[in-house]
């Protein structure tokens, strides 16, 4: 249930960017959320209107891009799709714990006017 805190921070960053650009309204936030980030997209969507209320982002839409996890195999020097923190390289079957992607929690862009 830390999605409210996360969303608060995302909106804070959006307000900061909008302000720096001299914008009056925020229409859309685009987030990138990794499959292993621990944040649940539905819970983020639920929190979003609550934390936007009373700000220039009120009524904005929320786009969430899910980022699939990718592991890195040091033996094959190659990336592969994975589902977990620990995964098996599909080529050499070595276990690897090195994640290249999948833990993102990022405000990618904000649409303003």
């Amino acid at each position: 249930m830390h999605e409210v805190s996360l969303m608060q921070e995302a909106v804070r960053l959006a307000l900061e960017s909008a302000q720096a650009a001299g914008a009056q309204h925020i229409h859309r936030l685009a987030l990138r959320v990794g499959a292993l980030s621990g944040a649940v997209p539905d819970a983020l969507r639920f929190a979003f209107p609550l934390v936007c209320a009373g700000t220039i982002a009120q009524g904005a839409t929320l786009d969430i891009e899910s980022v699939p996890a990718a592991g890195w195999c040091g033996y094959c020097q190659a990336e592969y799709r994975c589902e977990d923190y620990l995964s098996e390289c599909p080529r050499c079957r070595q276990i690897s714990a090195e994640l290249r992607r999948g833990t993102e929690l990022e405000l990618a862009a904000v649409e303003v006017s």
């Binding site: 249930m1 830390h2 805190s5 996360l6 921070e9 995302a10 804070r12 960053l13 959006a14 900061e16 960017s17 909008a18 720096a20 650009a21 914008a23 009056q24 309204h25 229409h27 859309r28 987030l31 292993l36 980030s37 621990g38 944040a39 009120q58 009524g59 904005a60 977990d84 923190y85 620990l86 714990a97 993102e104 929690l105 990022e106 405000l107 990618a108 862009a109 904000v110 649409e111 303003v112 006017s113």
Partner: protein, 265 residues
């Protein structure tokens, strides 16, 4: 570091390609405000690309630098509710008391029962009541730390909110993340909460005096821990009987030595 640099200044100017919106000038109602349904106010997309956890990470690094300068060893203790964090902290502090001075920051959703138990043991304690927030953040720790006389301490133990999910994402500026699982919780705890156990520097199996009664499969639990927390130091303890505690205590004292060493060096 300073956010403004990345967000505002360099951002590419007005992006007229507004795919879904700009195409229909009559859509102004979609954005609620209604104040100016001015279709001419062109929407633009500002690239931001900032981590939502960035602020916490920056504050955590600040905490870490501050604690380092004080020569403090800082532990962030995490577990599900009821795994024995408070008892472990109390016994650890009492046993270390001959050589090391220990202070505690306790996070709880409500009540200061844990803090009171630690205070009763004679420890300097600061309580953070988080209300509805399910984890501690670096900023809360910074505020709480100001209420402790850090110069009079060697080890600072932070008892996080009992929760194996949310606190995993929040660095507090600790040196070591200590994650507990008690024998009564089942051997598969690490498999159920991989982000937390994966982030552990130390994994403690607690309440081992109850292992037989709980039908605890030690080999399976260790196998699961090694799979998820493969780089973590693992200790098996009972804070109640003292079983296994000496190894853990030696480890803490040793870690404190190396933090101390890195400060003076």
């Amino acid at each position: 570091m300073d956010g403004q640099a990345t967000s505002g200044g360099g951002g590419p100017a007005p992006h007229p390609r507004d795919h879904d919106h700009a195409a229909e000038p009559a859509q102004a109602h979609a954005h609620g405000a209604g104040a100016e349904s001015d279709a001419a106010a062109a929407h633009q997309t500002l690239p931001v690309r900032r981590s939502i956890l960035e602020k916490n990470e920056r504050l955590a690094e600040r905490n870490r630098g501050f604690f380092r300068a004080k020569g403090l060893l800082v532990l962030n203790v995490l577990s599900a509710p009821g795994s024995g964090k408070t008892t472990l902290i109390r016994k650890t502090a009492e046993a270390l008391a001959q050589g090391l001075r220990v202070g505690v920051i306790v996070g709880d959703l409500a009540t200061d029962n844990d803090a009171a138990r630690l205070r009763a043991a004679g420890l300097p304690v600061v309580q953070i009541t988080t209300g509805t927030v399910c984890h501690l953040e670096a900023e809360m720790v910074a505020r709480a730390a100001r209420q402790l006389d850090l110069d009079a301490l060697d080890v600072l133990i932070i008892e996080n909110v009992g929760n194996l999910v949310c606190p995993a994402a929040y660095d507090l500026g600790e040196d070591l993340r200590v994650v507990l699982m008690s024998v009564t919780e089942g051997e598969d705890k690490p498999l159920k909460y991989p982000p937390m156990f994966h982030s552990a520097d130390v994994a403690l199996i607690t309440k081992i005096d109850l292992a037989a009664a709980a039908g605890f499969d030690r080999a399976q639990a260790l196998a699961n821990l090694h799979r998820i927390s493969h780089h973590a130091a693992v200790f098996e303890v009972s804070a109640k009987t003292g079983q296994g505690m000496p190894l853990w205590l030696d480890y803490v004292a040793q870690q404190r030595q190396s933090v101390r060493g890195s400060t003076s060096g």
